[in-house]
């Protein structure tokens, strides 16, 4: 039996896609500044990177507020329950066409692997990248703030964070194709509605 459920609210979809665009833009302009790609001149890249950084910061503040006021932050609490099942599913069951071991519901949207990944993303990677980025942006003011860190160290830390984001996005985009059909996760993130299996047959 299949059933359509309303999984992602309007805000979540707006947040997800805005964030996706901002991070993609930050990666492109960031790797332009780094010298890896050559799509625009350095000055333009810096200008847009700073604008996107402020955009992402604003969005993040807004999202934190939303998560706490709605209580939705609980979705990201890591759990070991069925973690093993999920690993087995991605390495075995998925190939055999078995149903996912964790059922999506509006109350529990995320499987244990998603939970731990997004938890690390939000609690470690985001703060790390925003902090290293803003210290980099305000490098000239650091001595006045009593912070002693070289531009090289900040640059390297921030680049390392960028690689982590890029690797996450590669896997994240791929895993979006592992739903009921290749595009069902994607559709859900656009429309909010996802078709899920209701109970085992």
């Amino acid at each position: 039996m299949k059933e359509k459920i309303y999984l992602y609210t309007g805000f979540e979809r707006f947040w997800h896609w805005t964030q996706a665009m901002l991070i993609t833009g930050l990666l492109v302009t960031g790797f332009e500044i780094h010298g890896t790609v050559d799509l625009m001149d350095f000055g333009t890249a810096v200008k847009y990177h700073e604008m996107l950084a402020w955009g992402l910061t604003g969005l993040t503040v807004f999202a934190i507020f939303w998560h706490f006021t709605t209580g939705e932050w609980k979705q990201y609490r890591p759990t070991l329950e069925k973690m093993g099942d999920m690993v087995c599913y991605y390495t075995g069951g998925l190939f055999r066409g078995a149903p996912p071991p964790v059922k999506k519901t509006p109350e529990k949207k995320l499987n244990p692997l998603q939970r731990i990944t997004y938890f690390i993303l939000k609690v470690l990677l985001f703060p790390f990248q925003l902090l290293s980025g803003f210290l980099y942006m305000y490098y000239n003011s650091l001595p006045a703030w009593g912070i002693d860190i070289s531009l090289e160290t900040l640059g390297l830390l921030h680049t390392a964070g960028a690689f982590a984001f890029l690797a996450f996005m590669v896997v994240h985009v791929y895993l979006s194709t592992t739903g009921e059909t290749v595009t069902s996760h994607l559709r859900a993130m656009i429309t909010g509605w996802e078709s899920v299996e209701t109970g085992r047959q």
Binding site: I33, E152, V170, T178
Partner: protein
């Protein structure tokens, strides 16, 4: 007199130690008629670009020889050549910045460090000397905070003088070792290029000229020292006749632009010192321009200077770095970020600091791309397995 003459008739005699011709004198084919000093004295006036330029535009023996940023093109500069001296605009004279009080003319670099701690031209800050920051402050860019963040380590001139000699050419190479050649009739050779610039002269050797020259860049704290006759030189590589002091670890240093004047000069290969040859003079004095014999010329010059000379003359390549401060271009022509923030950019040679866009950590980059690569490989394999297992599943059904 030469500074305040408004008649344009006060001319110095080249070999007159600063004096004009007091009676009719010949220099080669040129005749120098005595200057009517009374007339000049009755027509003294304020100094101008013209009076200052009479000497400073022609340093080194001709227009634009010595400086790449000071030549006669500044007499009628337009905005593109110099925003401040633009005859149709601000029309600054030299003394607008080179403040002069009681005949003490403010220079720029030689005796004092760079002006990093000064913001405005207040007497308490820096006497009467005017620098860019005096008017523009240390955060002069209105719309770009990040550009202002550069002013602690990058001099204004570095970005705002994108090229030297943008109208008239400047001499970049002067090879004295080639001097002293005569044609088959024993006459002196003077060769000019298609633009009329001397590229060979029996008296001076071979020269090269250039326009729109990209400056050299160095860390500079305002102190320049020179190679003296008493200094031992290393003749295994080009000798830097001016030593530019400063480094990126010195907070008083900033990156400045320089004209690098290269050439070959006589030196003493035994004592390993530079030498002073005697150029002017009559036959029998050892003067190079009369006898064309370097040995005699250097002997005469070193004797006159009271410096030791081994009796041997060689030629060594030299470099003379001179700070650049004039010919400030309009903002639209200032260097863009990626002139420097790129591999093999203008600051490629300056090392010891991290510059985004140019520098990176190989280990981090390799690791980073390896992680991304592994992720890609992983999803590729996983995806392929999904496709294979799915078609197998269908076949079984």
């Amino acid at each position: 007199m030469v500074c305040h003459d408004t008649t344009g008739t006060y001319k110095k005699f080249p070999a007159g130690c600063g004096h004009p011709a007091y009676e009719e004198k010949k220099m080669g084919k040129k005749v120098f008629i005595p200057v009517d000093l009374r007339n000049v004295a009755r027509h003294v006036g304020r100094t101008s670009r013209k009076t200052c330029g009479t000497c400073h535009f022609y340093g080194g023996g001709g227009d634009g020889v010595k400086h790449g940023d000071l030549d006669s093109s500044l007499l009628t500069a337009d905005k593109n050549l110099d925003v401040h001296m633009d005859a149709g605009g601000l029309n600054f004279g030299c003394t607008r910045c080179h403040t002069t009080m009681a005949h003490r003319i403010a220079g720029r670099f030689y005796s004092s460090p760079s002006t990093d701690r000064y913001r405005l031209a207040l007497p308490d800050d820096d006497g009467s000397r005017i620098a860019c920051e005096s008017c523009h402050s240390r955060r002069p860019h209105r719309t770009n905070r990040k550009l202002n963040d550069h002013t602690d380590r990058i001099a204004c001139e570095t970005c705002h003088i994108p090229a030297l000699a943008r109208v008239n050419p400047t001499k970049m190479w002067w090879d004295w070792s080639k001097a002293g050649r005569f044609d088959e009739n024993g006459r002196m050779i003077v060769k000019k290029d298609d633009k009329g610039r001397i590229i060979y002269h029996t008296k001076k050797g071979e020269m090269r000229w250039a326009t729109n020259v990209m400056p050299e860049y160095e860390w500079f704290n305002g102190v320049i020292t020179h190679v003296l006759l008493s200094d031992r030189i290393d003749d295994s590589r080009p000798v830097r006749l001016t030593q530019i002091h400063g480094s990126c670890s010195d907070p008083a240093s900033r990156i400045y632009p320089f004209k690098k004047f290269r050439g070959k000069q006589p030196y003493d290969p035994v004592n390993k010192t530079m030498v002073v040859p005697r150029l002017f003079g009559k036959k029998g004095t050892g003067a190079y321009w009369a006898e064309f014999d370097w040995l005699k010329s250097v002997k005469a010059g070193m004797d006159a200077a009271g410096a030791p000379f081994s009796g041997k003359v060689g030629f060594v390549e030299t470099e003379y770095l001179r700070p650049v401060a004039h010919m400030v271009a309009p903002g639209k022509d200032a260097l863009s970020c990626d002139e420097c923030h790129v591999e093999k950019g203008r600051l490629e040679k300056l090392r010891g600091f991290y510059m985004p866009g140019r520098d990176r950590n190989r280990v981090l980059d390799t690791t980073g791309w390896a992680v991304v690569g592994i992720a890609l490989m992983g999803i590729l394999i996983h995806g392929l397995m999904r496709i294979i297992t799915r078609s197998e599943g269908r076949r079984r059904k």
